[in-house]
């Protein structure tokens, strides 16, 4: 018997249980006030009885999937037992429904429990990410030593198809990926840092309200554009432009240069930097500014000597968050940066990044157990740890900064 059908039947029974509870409490109400309104009596009857039988179904299915596959043949018995349990709990709950029965308290306990379970999900997801990534990476490190992965300078993850194939043992030295990632992130920050910061300063200190009201939403549009669109923009506009300009000056530029990917990523991050900087600059107390203006400093001097130093921790925190964004960004680099793992600091050459390689390793039909696929998880682990540390530091700095002026 199909599990879905069992669950649907339990659901339908639950609905009828609700109306049964409602009916009984409505009759009771004719004589005397109830502790809880009738809907709670209906609800508790429905919840109690369906929860009990659904729990049974879940436990059964878990057993069947993981321990005793033979149980599959006894689905009909499961159905009978679960219906039996439903009616048993329904019967006992039904008997409890009296004028003084605290149905509301019971329902509210269940609601509160549900809320609590939902909030634990956030922890569960983090733990899930951590465990799954660590578990798979561990399998990877069983065949490839950690030191080779972290310090090797040669990356070519193609594994031999046949045992005796010549000259094609995969190499998993991830250093070129790390340098590529940082090169692109560095270029992106060179664009986004100054432009984002200056835009924020201009908008919060110089621009009139009307200008601000128009320009701010426009920069927010930049933040809402999907990264795949930026990637396409990089491929059809920025990369050809850089290549042509390079050729004009006699510089050889790869068609998938680090510069193109970095530039476009920088554009993507501008609104991110500017909105965080805007927040922290606005958090600087007005009297600090007035103090400086009052002794005859110009606006730019006030900004450079008073506001920026005061807002510095917040700005640094924001920039760190932006770096973490740049490191983890995928689509722009998948589309605009290369696949080849060059160990270089030359922005005109093609480089590859951690995220690009994760995608390359996982797209297409793969044996899930091959080191090639598992390598993606090892890269994911590195990426996760790097961004986690950056985020943690950044969020900590920003929080401390906010508290200072609150």
């Amino acid at each position: 018997m199909n599990i879905t059908i069992i669950l649907i039947i339990i659901g339908l029974l639950g609905i009828s249980a609700y109306y049964t509870g409602l009916r009984k409490s409505l009759t009771l109400r004719e004589d005397k006030l109830l502790h809880s309104t009738p809907i709670y009596h209906g609800a508790i009857l429905a919840i109690n009885s369906s929860l009990a039988s659904i729990l049974l179904v879940i436990v059964w299915v878990l057993f069947e999937k993981n321990i005793f596959p033979e149980l599959l043949a006894f689905r009909n018995i499961l159905f009978i037992i679960s219906i039996f349990i439903f009616f048993l709990t329904a019967f006992f709950t039904f008997k409890k429904i009296k004028n003084k029965f605290k149905a509301r308290d019971k329902v509210e306990k269940i609601i509160e429990l549900f809320l609590l379970v939902c909030s634990s999900l956030a922890i569960l997801i983090t733990v899930g990410i951590f465990l799954s990534v660590i578990f798979e990476s561990n399998r990877f490190f069983e065949s490839i030593p950690l030191t080779e992965f972290l310090f090797g300078t040669h990356w070519s993850p193609q594994m031999p198809i046949r045992e005796d194939q010549a000259g094609s043992t995969g190499a998993f030295g991830a250093v070129p990926l790390f340098t590529g990632t940082f090169l692109i992130a560095f270029i992106a920050m060179c664009i986004a840092g100054p432009i984002g910061l200056m835009s924020a300063i201009f908008l919060s200190e110089y621009a009139s309200k009307s200008v601000r009201d128009i320009v701010k939403p426009l920069t927010e549009i930049l933040a809402g554009i999907p990264t795949v669109v930026y990637g396409f923009f990089a491929v059809i506009v920025v990369a050809p432009f850089i290549r042509n300009t390079g050729n004009y000056f006699g510089i050889e530029v790869a068609s998938e240069s680090a510069l193109a990917a970095g530039l476009v990523m920088g554009v993507m991050i501008i609104p991110f930097v500017s909105s965080i900087s805007d927040d922290v600059i606005n958090a600087v107390p007005q009297n600090l500014k007035n103090g400086s203006l009052g002794v005859g400093a110009t606006k730019s001097e006030t900004i450079k000597l008073v506001i920026i130093p005061a807002a510095l921790p917040g700005i640094i925190g924001g920039l760190l968050l932006a770096v973490s964004r740049a490191i983890g960004e995928t689509m722009i680099v998948v589309m605009a940066a290369g696949m080849s793992a060059n160990l270089t600091a030359n922005p005109f050459e093609a480089v590859t990044t951690v995220t690009v390689q994760i995608v390359v390793l996982l797209v297409g039909d793969q044996e899930f157990d091959s080191p090639k696929t598992l390598a993606a998880f090892a890269l994911g682990l590195v990426l996760f740890i790097m961004t986690l540390i950056l985020n943690y530091i950044a969020l900590h700095i920003v929080r401390k900064y906010r508290e200072q002026y609150e």
């Binding site: 634990s120 689509m331 998948v334 985020n391 969020l395």
Partner: protein
């Protein structure tokens, strides 16, 4: 005084930097929009050629059965071929005739088949029908292939050009609104490809995302804002966790989905179901954070009023605080959903990147999503796909702009309600 002068000059320069930064950012934004629009607007039209089709009984239904099951197996391609040859009687030779037929899209025979299915009485008659042109012809008509270029530098040779110019002179070739783009799935022929499959895939995935992340997100926010003990280490830990999750690279969620949903729970690969689940992991932190902010901004006096007439805490929160905070919560949800709509990296990892022609019928069918379709097309060098990529981006942006405007509207409403 000199000092003051240079100070004022510095002030001016500094201000200029600010203006320059903003201008540059806005210039790049407009460059992006202009380049995509100029590449893509032509994709909303398609080129069709009018053929005089003779639905010959000999070809379609020689035994006069009038039975669709038999008719549907006949050679519709021959109808197209005959009609084209009739149009250009001077073209001779097998290879030339084949080349001639190629100016018509290969979808024409299916179009005719559907036509006959719906008009079975047309058999034995002739009828003028507009059929899709091949993508190279389409590009030529739209001006993306330059006719003045030397023959070996364009994809249409002189002979083909002559044919097309003949059609043009007889008004047998024209541009129409591109229905195909909105009503079909992916195809290897650019003139037959559309975004419907990807759109449905996105719709399925986002529905799953909404169903999962909206209730869980709100429940978490309510618990943390209204019920959790304050100054509790565990709650602080959850909070730090949520803030961190919001900044974890999206591709990591894809890895989680791959390891847990696909390998452990053995859910189907490439399915919007898994895509939606992965996207909901990503959307959850956004919804939680914004819901908490809006719950926090509801004046406590409203809750007190409810408690004062004897509402329980849960009643006070669910009857009064949550409804007031709802527009704010919805704003956050819409922004989260908009982000999920534009997200592609985690979907790549769980295999929602494949050449899928069929329109997905359920959440477990293999599918792509709009941004993935954009990615796939952008990888194809043909000019016809470049145009369609840009057009698909425009469609995606229209949706995003709509969602974001809705969010802004709700936020304004919320701010007004809170007063």
């Amino acid at each position: 005084m000199n000092n003051l002068k240079s100070r004022l000059a510095k002030e001016k320069r500094f201000r200029l930097y600010g203006v320059a930064s903003i201008t540059l950012a806005l210039f790049l934004l407009s460059l992006l929009f202009v380049s995509i629009f100029s590449q893509g607007y032509t994709a909303f039209q398609e080129t069709k050629i009018q053929l005089n089709i003779n639905f010959s009984e000999e070809i379609l239904d020689p035994n006069k059965t009038k039975d669709w099951e038999i008719i549907k197996k006949s050679n519709f391609s021959l109808l197209v071929k005959n009609s084209v040859n009739e149009l250009f009687p001077n073209v001779s030779g097998r290879s030339n005739k084949r080349k001639l037929k190629k100016i018509i899209s290969s979808s024409a025979e299916y179009q005719l088949r559907d036509y006959v299915k719906n008009n079975i009485n047309t058999i034995g008659k002739s009828k003028k029908i507009w059929v899709l042109a091949d993508d190279d012809v389409d590009m030529l008509i739209k001006g993306h292939i330059n006719r003045i270029l030397p023959e070996d530098e364009r994809r249409i040779d002189n002979e083909e050009l002559k044919w097309i110019e003949f059609l043009e002179s007889k008004n047998l070739i024209d541009k129409f609104f591109n229905k195909t783009f909105f009503t079909s799935g992916d195809s290897s022929e650019s003139e037959q490809s559309g975004i419907l499959g990807a759109f449905i895939g996105s719709l399925f995935a986002l529905s799953i995302t909404l169903i999962l992340s909206f209730p869980i997100g709100i429940a978490t926010a309510i618990y943390m804002e209204e019920f959790a003990p304050k100054n509790n280490k565990l709650i602080d830990f959850v909070e730090v966790n949520i803030n961190n999750l919001a900044a974890v690279p999206s591709i990591i969620f894809g890895l989680l989905g791959l390891a847990i949903f696909l390998n452990f729970f053995e859910l189907p690969r490439s399915a919007p179901l898994v895509g939606g689940m992965v996207l909901s992991l990503m959307t959850l932190p956004t919804i939680i954070i914004s819901s908490r902010v809006s719950l926090k901004s509801v004046p406590p006096s409203i809750k007190e009023g409810a408690l004062g007439v004897g509402a329980s805490k849960i009643q006070a929160v669910f009857h009064h605080v949550v409804p007031v905070a709802m527009p704010g919560i919805l704003t956050g949800t819409i922004i989260g959903m908009a982000r999920a709509l534009g997200e592609s990296a985690p979907l790549l990892v769980i295999g929602m990147v494949a050449f899928i022609v069929d329109i997905p019928q359920s959440v477990t069918d293999p599918a792509t999503a709009l941004p993935i379709q954009i990615y796939l097309w952008s990888d194809t060098p043909e000019r016809g796909f470049v145009e369609r990529t840009s057009a698909a981006i425009m469609v995606l942006l229209v949706f995003l702009i709509f969602m974001n405007s809705l969010a802004v509207y709700l936020r304004k409403k919320f701010e007004k309600d809170i007063g």
